[in-house]
């Protein structure tokens, strides 16, 4: 198959299947979604083999695609305007109009794209990476959602199933994301951008609780603020005679004065989508949505659209002061969200803050704007998507079983859900320990940032905090005493087990394959924009002039270590086990932990983590963080002028 067809399938198939999902036959829907997942994954592999492709489709569904996109754009914006009107929100109405009017001016009076020969579709390795993340991880999450949503609705006792609508938006979203990352025309990207905003809004308010509605509204206005920035960037580009397509725009290098403003506005749109501070609250609020939504939109893919756009534009502003501010902004998000995550005991919120932090690190890398930093950013997109998607799915399963998402309630989970616990541990370890990919990216980012003292200090502090909240969560899950009938059995739906197993396997295998992934997917992108300081993959590691990371040796030795350690731990026999020391008269039964205290009262074992709420509680510091973040944003945008 030729790449053009593959790209067509990746974008158009989900749009079609989404409509079919509305048919109220659950079994058919399941088959449809599994089938779509397989086709999309296969398509993303097929695309991978191809060299970079660019072309302009002549017609889509018998229409000129530019006209089609423009029409759909207005249709979508009017739908959003109608929703804003129904919600009686003046802010939302204003933000809708601020997009409709400039877009109308642009489309009707300024004739965008007339005389331009730039291709509307462009797929290089960065796009292919994104398509793989969206198509494979996205599909796995959708398949997991089949079982999850059934339990979810059983739990809520819904009279009428809303799953048709749910999967309509989930699958539609996959198509929109593929469209976003495969488009070269900024007008197209803008359309898909708005579709993802809309899907996100509809999915956050899916459960229709008061809090869900309120949070969905917040997500909508914050994302629309970015949309407004996007539209104005388009108008400004057109007014200055700059190309309205990504590759041509980056090649034009509009890095001086007023020409930089549209780039800054596009980056601003990226920041809102990636929920960077001060916009972090929409992503945290989005955690009320069913967990597959959090996994798909709010960690693996949609928020990545924001960093994708910034990464795409980064070579255009390399070496400017603006770039350094972007690095500072990203690093600030990284450290502040790490602090906020440290103060949380809500598992999903920890994941949300850590997601924002990782996106901040990617944006910081885009701002550092060296080949090493860009490599780190692209790799981090992959590794974060796999491991964080996995973590969200694990927390979803845990929540459905124990009825809580508080990590304190997950103490000793290993004795209740051993299989899920081990998978979650793999998810966590691949997010913050070597030799796994996410840590490799952090290593690259620190080495790349080492010429910018303020940025590197923020990354170093943030990364140490990250270690703390992951290590304690991982440790708590294992809290247990040895008992005779300890087994490793756990009932689990196959549609849940397969996505979890595949993602866990993927997290480890892709990390091990970093040298290959790097040379085939990252190097071609990075070497197109930069000449020096590029990492080389050889001898099972990555190296450049200033650093080296021996991936295979560390991987193999640690793998051997895991084998030795698990053999040693299996060797211990029943009589080797005892109960923990309590400094008092204690029970011999390993199931009752505690001791006889003063007045012969039995004292149970209790434990809790340091959350430091008095120092870094969310409500205490969020205001200050937002204030500083707004300050950096103003300097960032004003500095351009």
């Amino acid at each position: 198959m030729i790449p053009q067809q593959v790209i067509g399938i990746s974008i158009l198939l989900p749009f079609l299947v989404a409509l079919l999902c509305l048919v109220k036959v659950p079994r058919l829907r399941s088959l449809l979604i599994i089938g779509t997942g397989i086709i999309l994954s296969a398509a993303s592999f097929a695309l991978l083999k191809a060299d970079p492709v660019s072309f302009s489709p002549e017609s889509v569904l018998g229409m000129n695609p530019d006209v089609l996109i423009a029409l759909l754009d207005f249709a979508l914006l009017f739908v959003i305007l109608y929703i804003s009107y129904k919600l009686k929100s003046k802010l939302l109405i204003a933000l809708s109009l601020l997009q409709i009017l400039p877009l109308a001016v642009l489309e009707i009076f300024m004739h965008p794209g007339s005389g331009s020969t730039a291709p509307t579709i462009f797929a290089d390795q960065l796009s292919m990476v994104m398509v793989m993340v969206i198509s494979i991880i996205g599909s796995l999450i959708c398949i997991y959602a089949l079982s999850y949503m059934k339990k979810h609705e059983d739990h809520l006792h819904l009279p009428v199933s809303k799953q048709g609508r749910f999967f309509f938006y989930m699958i539609l979203f996959l198509g929109a994301m593929n469209g976003l990352v495969l488009s070269n025309s900024l007008l197209w990207i803008y359309f898909f951008w708005e579709v993802t905003t809309f899907c996100s809004f509809m999915l956050i308010k899916h459960d229709e609780t008061e809090i869900a509605k309120a949070n969905a509204k917040r997500a909508l206005w914050m994302n629309m603020l970015g949309g407004v920035g996007f539209v104005f960037a388009l108008v400004l580009l057109q007014a200055q005679g700059l190309p309205l397509s990504l590759q041509e725009l980056v090649a034009a290098k509009p890095a001086a004065g007023l020409a930089l403003l549209p780039l800054a506005l596009l980056c601003f749109a990226g920041f809102t989508k990636a929920a960077q501070v001060p916009f972090q609250s929409w992503l945290c609020g989005a955690m009320v949505a069913p967990t597959p939504v959090s996994a798909l939109l709010h960690s693996s893919t949609m928020v990545k659209a924001g960093v994708y756009l910034v990464l795409r534009l980064a070579p255009a502003f390399a070496g400017t002061l603006f770039s350094s501010y972007v690095a500072l902004f990203g690093a600030f998000t990284f450290i502040t969200t790490a602090v906020l995550a440290l103060s949380q005991s809500n598992g999903k919120k920890i994941l949300a803050y850590s997601t924002i932090g990782n996106l901040g690190l990617i944006i910081a890398c885009a701002g550092i704007n060296t080949p090493a930093a860009m490599s780190a950013a692209i790799l981090l997109i992959i590794f974060h998507a796999v491991s964080k998607g996995l973590m969200f799915l694990c927390v979803g399963s845990i929540e459905q079983k124990i009825g809580s998402r508080d990590i304190e309630d997950m103490r000793g989970l290993v004795s209740r859900m051993p299989w899920t616990t081990v998978v979650a541990l793999i998810g966590m370890v691949t997010l913050f320990l070597p030799p796994f990919g996410a840590l490799l990216c952090k290593w690259m980012a620190i080495e790349a940032a080492s010429k910018l003292p303020l940025v590197v200090i923020m990354i170093a502090l943030g990364s140490a905090i990250t270690v703390v909240f992951w290590a304690r969560w991982a440790g708590m899950l294992l809290s247990s005493t040895w008992t005779e009938k300890q087994g490793f059995t756990e009932y689990m739906d196959l549609l849940v087990r397969i996505p979890l197993a595949l993602l866990a396997l993927g997290a480890v295998v892709v990390s091990f394959g970093v040298p290959v992934v790097y040379s085939s997917l990252v190097l071609p992108v990075v070497s197109r924009y930069y000449q020096t300081g590029i990492y080389v993959a050889s001898g099972g590691g990555l190296f450049n002039e200033i650093g080296v990371f021996a991936i295979y040796p560390v991987f193999l030795i640690m793998a051997a270590g895991v084998v030795i350690a698990s053999r040693a731990s299996k060797k211990a026999r029943g009589r080797s086990y005892c109960t923990p020391y309590m400094s008092g008269i204690q029970s011999a039964d390993p199931n009752t932990i505690g001791f006889v205290g003063p007045l012969k009262q039995w004292v149970d074992f209790k434990a809790g983590n340091y959350y430091l709420k008095n120092f870094i509680g969310e409500e205490k510091i969020t205001g200050w963080i937002n204030l500083i973040a707004v300050g950096i944003l103003i300097v960032l945008l004003a500095g351009v002028l």
């Binding site: 290993v414 913050f432 320990l433 070597p434 840590l439 952090k442 290593w443 620190i446 080495e447 080492s450 590197v456 200090i457 170093a460 502090l461 990364s463 140490a464 905090i465 270690v467 703390v468 992951w470 290590a471 304690r472 991982a474 440790g475 708590m476 294992l478 809290s479 247990s480 005493t481 040895w482 002039e545 200033i546 650093g547 080296v548 990371f549 021996a550 560390v554 640690m558 051997a560 270590g561 895991v562 350690a565 698990s566 040693a568 731990s569 299996k570 211990a572 080797s576 086990y577 005892c578 109960t579 923990p580 020391y581 309590m582 400094s583 932990i593 074992f605 434990a607 983590n609 340091y610």
Partner: protein
């Protein structure tokens, strides 16, 4: 693999615990003399470990066993990577594996002492980790590389260029060695409110493994200190001896502090000194 690297690896794996054990013995001996006691023989740490290895196994759950083994292997790997003159930051990250598994092992036991020790150990990690990264970055600032072979090749003793960074490093060193005033997560003696913190639930062979892993870590940290004087052997030796004696002295004259004090004081001092040292560097280069 070259024969030389192979021998170097063997030397690191075998030599490091011997040096670490001897240092620990010397440490105990000097500490005893400072306190007016005679002290144990220098080889006492080895006798202790051998005895522990022969004791009956006693453990609460198998995750603990898993965690101590990972701790040992990651410490060994760090020393090997150091001997092979690899990337400093990478070694640091591998060291994190061990520290994290140590904490996970402690958290896996429903024991109040081990739990509180683990929480405090996390705070200790939080304190020293960024400082170590900053020290490595400042070494990069001067030498232009994170690779140890390039740093060794630098033509001036780093301690003269980065004197304040050496102080920052020694903070990190003291915390990592859990010496007073930073013996917050696990005290040397079990007759305190913490019992033995993170180490409370380990005994017999497993405690021996932790002890050996700790020796590797001591050697690694002294190795990093040694990078601050690579132009002559005598200079390096002098630096290391002075550093270790200072550590023992501080350990003996200080009392244990709280983790709140540690975090604010050490971060404040560490970041302040780092910026000052960088400013000095810039001033010098003008």
């Amino acid at each position: 693999m070259e024969l030389k690297t192979f021998f170097l690896i063997i030397l690191a794996v075998v030599g490091a615990p011997i040096i670490g054990g001897l240092l620990s013995g010397l440490d105990r001996r000097i500490t005893a003399r400072v306190q007016g006691r005679f002290g144990p023989p220098i080889l006492q740490p080895f006798y202790d470990v051998i005895k522990l290895l022969g004791k009956q196994k006693n453990i609460v759950n198998y995750w603990q066993i898993f965690c101590v083994h990972i701790y040992l292997i990651s410490s060994m790997l760090c020393v090997v990577l150091f001997a092979m003159q690899s990337d400093l930051l990478m070694i640091f990250f591998v060291m994190t594996i061990g520290a994290v598994f140590m904490v996970m092992g402690a958290l896996s036991v429903p024991s109040p002492y081990s739990q509180i020790g683990a929480q405090r150990e996390l705070m200790q990690m939080l304190t020293y980790e960024p400082l170590l990264v900053i020290v490595f970055v400042s070494m990069f600032f001067v030498t232009g590389s994170f690779k140890i072979d390039d740093i060794v090749a630098y033509d001036r003793p780093l301690v003269l260029v980065l004197p304040l960074m050496y102080i920052v490093l020694s903070f990190a060193l003291t915390i990592k060695l859990r010496k007073s005033p930073f013996d917050i997560s696990a005290s040397h003696h079990a007759h305190q409110e913490l019992v033995r913190g993170v180490l409370t639930e380990y005994s017999g062979p497993y405690l021996a493994i932790i002890e050996i892993a700790h020796w590797y870590e001591v050697v690694l940290i002294l190795g990093i200190c040694a990078l601050f004087w690579t132009t002559s052997w005598s200079g390096m030796l002098l630096l290391l001896v002075l550093t270790y004696l200072a550590e023992i002295l501080i350990d003996n004259v200080m009392t244990r502090m709280t983790w709140r004090w540690m975090l604010t004081y050490v971060w404040g001092m560490g970041i302040g000194l780092s910026f000052m040292n960088l400013a000095l560097l810039y001033a010098g280069s003008f």
